[in-house]
């Protein structure tokens, strides 16, 4: 194509610098996690997997990983159901009022999570949801809705409304149309939203700091406490596991998208 020239050395350099700037802070934890020392440092006499062993043998770490996982799964289900229904509802009604609903649904993204957390703390006290599994699931589930609304709305924008008309014209009820025509078409969007909602809950710290204390002790919370109390390289090992898991989820998302486009 005309007008597209190969990038010059300056542009190339800038691109690489940006990529490194994004990646290095994440990559630095890998050697730290493999350190042979007993404190947070780079390896000195060789690499060692002892800190991974420590993490995977520690009931506290494993407990937090399991807790984070179950919370994230439950919160994702909440986000996906509410977000998908909201997106489909707005799409079907499609009036000016639904634009307002869409903006409202994005609020959790726009409002700083610390503000949200303070509000939750005030409400959850009287409701008995502080330091409860259900409380954290609700908090994470509700704040995960925007991701689902965005991805499902995008999928619906590409959905041919004549397919719905065709289904109705052939005698399909609303729920049959939803199950057999609309949902299969927007499934990739729902999956994407689910993965983002999961990641959102999986690495959320600020709200957990406010609404959970002892019974609910998620993985990010344990890392945070670990950093505050002792500089155990086990944290770096956990961080590596966290990054690997998140990367894996994003790769699944990409693969699903590619399949739905292909």
């Amino acid at each position: 194509m005309d007008g597209i020239h190969p990038p010059g050395p300056a542009a190339r350099g800038l691109a690489w610098a940006t990529a490194l700037y994004l990646l290095l802070p994440i990559l630095i934890i890998v050697p730290v996690a493999l350190t042979d020392q007993r404190y947070l440092s780079l390896p000195q006499d060789g690499i060692s997997f002892q800190h991974f062993r420590t993490v995977l043998a520690s009931p506290e770490w494993l407990g937090s990983i399991w807790q984070s996982f179950t919370i994230a799964v439950a919160a994702t289900i909440l986000s996906v159901v509410a977000g998908t229904l909201c997106a489909i509802g707005c799409w079907r009604i499609s009036r000016r009022a639904t634009e307002l609903v869409r903006v409202l649904m994005l609020l959790p993204l726009i409002i700083p999570s610390i503000v949200y957390a303070i509000g939750l703390y005030r409400y959850f006290g009287p409701l008995g949801l502080l330091d409860r599994f259900a409380g954290v699931v609700i908090a994470h589930g509700v704040t995960g809705i925007p991701y689902v609304v965005i991805t499902v709305s995008t999928a619906l924008a590409a959905f041919d409304p004549r397919l719905e008309q065709a289904a109705r014209g052939m005698g399909a009820s609303l729920s049959q149309t939803l199950r057999w025509v609309i949902l299969p078409r927007i499934a990739p969007g729902i999956f994407s939203g689910a993965i983002f909602a999961f990641i959102h809950s999986w690495d959320e710290l600020v709200m957990v700091l406010f609404i959970a204390s002892r019974d609910v002790f998620t993985l990010p919370r344990r890392i945070w406490d670990g950093i505050n109390e002792n500089l155990d390289p086990a944290m770096a090992a956990v961080a590596v596991l966290l990054v690997l898991f998140t990367t894996l989820l994003l790769m699944v998302d990409r693969a699903l998208r590619r399949r739905s486009e292909g």
């Binding site: 004549r162 008309q165 289904a167 109705r168 014209g169 005698g171 399909a172 057999w180 078409r185």
Partner: protein, 362 residues
């Protein structure tokens, strides 16, 4: 599939969108097993009428009756009408067989019955071997046939077609026109088709309803509409036409003579009050080229202005002193002369050829 045509009646159908009237008091009857085409330019309201029959558009006034029963308040899924959408609207995530099975699945039919009917429907459109494919793996014409099979598989009371052939190229369109016509004969159902393509309407339909600006202008058999257009719009939209305006010079039981400038045009048919204005529609192919000394009911002389050779036909534009520009079309093999600008030409036509029409054009 059994022959089970149903009759549809549209009574005073009106649809307004704010100040805009998309359909204005249209009444139409569609007989059992009839192939009706709603024909009109874009914005004529033809698609709105079809969507109202399908149940996707709620009429502002009027009613729709199936075999005498009022179905106006029924939602689309309760009407049991088959529909072929513009662009087909096949479900892209389902195989051809699943697409065709869809209307049976929503009706809760068992798998064995479903499979048998799907196979019969796909055989009907000669696509049996494509059952396992996805719609995007088929050509446009094949997709169109899948859409037809899907619309017919559940024995619908009516088949509605929304510009079913508009997405296809010219040759394929002609091929599918014939198939559609044959299919209509085979299944014996009532078809309602929407199109803006006059050739498609003429070749497919038992009856055509011509619409413009939301109003029904004329309906009737294709030949009737073509030969006896009621208005200037119908004559102009369905085929091509010359228009001759003048006042009635004399009249008797066998017809009248129109004075158009210096010319006197004999028109056979009903008489008309002397002195009144009349507009005539004259089809270009009804004009013949007259040699030296040959005569006709009406003869007009002029000079050749332009010509196009179209293979089968030869189209002429002739400037006449009395009637302005006249278009004539004759079989190319009859045009035994070397065309040249300014060539003197004698045109003739019989007193049956021109028909009086209402002047409804702006």
């Amino acid at each position: 599939m059994s022959a089970a045509g149903h009759a549809l009646a549209i009574r005073g159908l009106t649809k307004r969108y704010g100040d805009f009237t998309a359909v204005d008091d249209v009444s139409l009857e569609v007989g059992q097993g009839e192939f009706l085409t709603l024909l009109g330019p874009s914005g004529s309201g033809k698609t709105t009428i079809l969507m109202a029959v399908a149940g996707f558009v709620a009429p502002s006034a009027g009613s729709i009756l199936l075999d005498g029963r009022d179905i106006t308040p029924l939602p689309p899924e309760k009407r049991n009408f088959g529909m072929v959408f513009q662009g087909y609207a096949l479900f892209p995530h389902m195989s051809v067989a699943d697409n065709v099975a869809f209307p049976l699945r929503v009706r809760g039919l068992g798998r064995a019955d479903r499979d048998a009917k799907v196979r019969a429907a796909l055989d009907l459109v000669q696509l049996g071997q494509f059952a396992g494919r996805l719609p995007r793996q088929l050509s446009g014409g094949q997709q169109q046939r899948v859409a037809l099979a899907r619309a017919l598989v559940f024995d619908p009371s009516l088949l509605l077609l929304d510009e079913p052939l508009s997405a296809l190229d010219k040759k394929l369109r002609a091929e599918l026109q014939e198939e559609l016509k044959a299919l209509h004969r085979r299944v014996g159902r009532t078809f309602i088709n929407v199109t803006h393509d006059q050739d498609e309407a003429l070749s497919l339909s038992d009856r055509i309803a011509i619409l413009n600006h939301g109003k029904l202008i004329q309906s009737g058999a294709p030949g009737e509409l073509y030969e006896r257009p009621r208005t200037r719009f119908v004559a102009d939209f369905l085929g091509k036409s010359n228009f001759i305006e003048g006042s009635v010079a004399s009249s008797d039981a066998g017809g009248f003579v129109l004075a158009a400038g210096p010319e006197r045009i004999a028109v056979r048919g009903q008489g008309a009050p002397e002195g009144t204005r009349r507009l005539l529609s004259l089809r270009p192919e009804k004009i013949v080229l007259l040699g030296e000394g040959a005569g006709a009911d009406n003869v007009v002389e002029g000079r050749l202005l332009a010509w196009s050779y179209l293979g089968a036909d030869f189209a002429l534009r002739v400037a006449t002193p009395g009637l302005g520009e006249i278009r004539a079309v004759l079989p190319a093999w009859q045009a035994a002369f070397a065309p040249a600008e300014g060539l003197p030409i004698r045109l003739g036509w019989s007193a049956d050829a021109a028909v009086p029409v209402e002047d409804d054009a702006p």
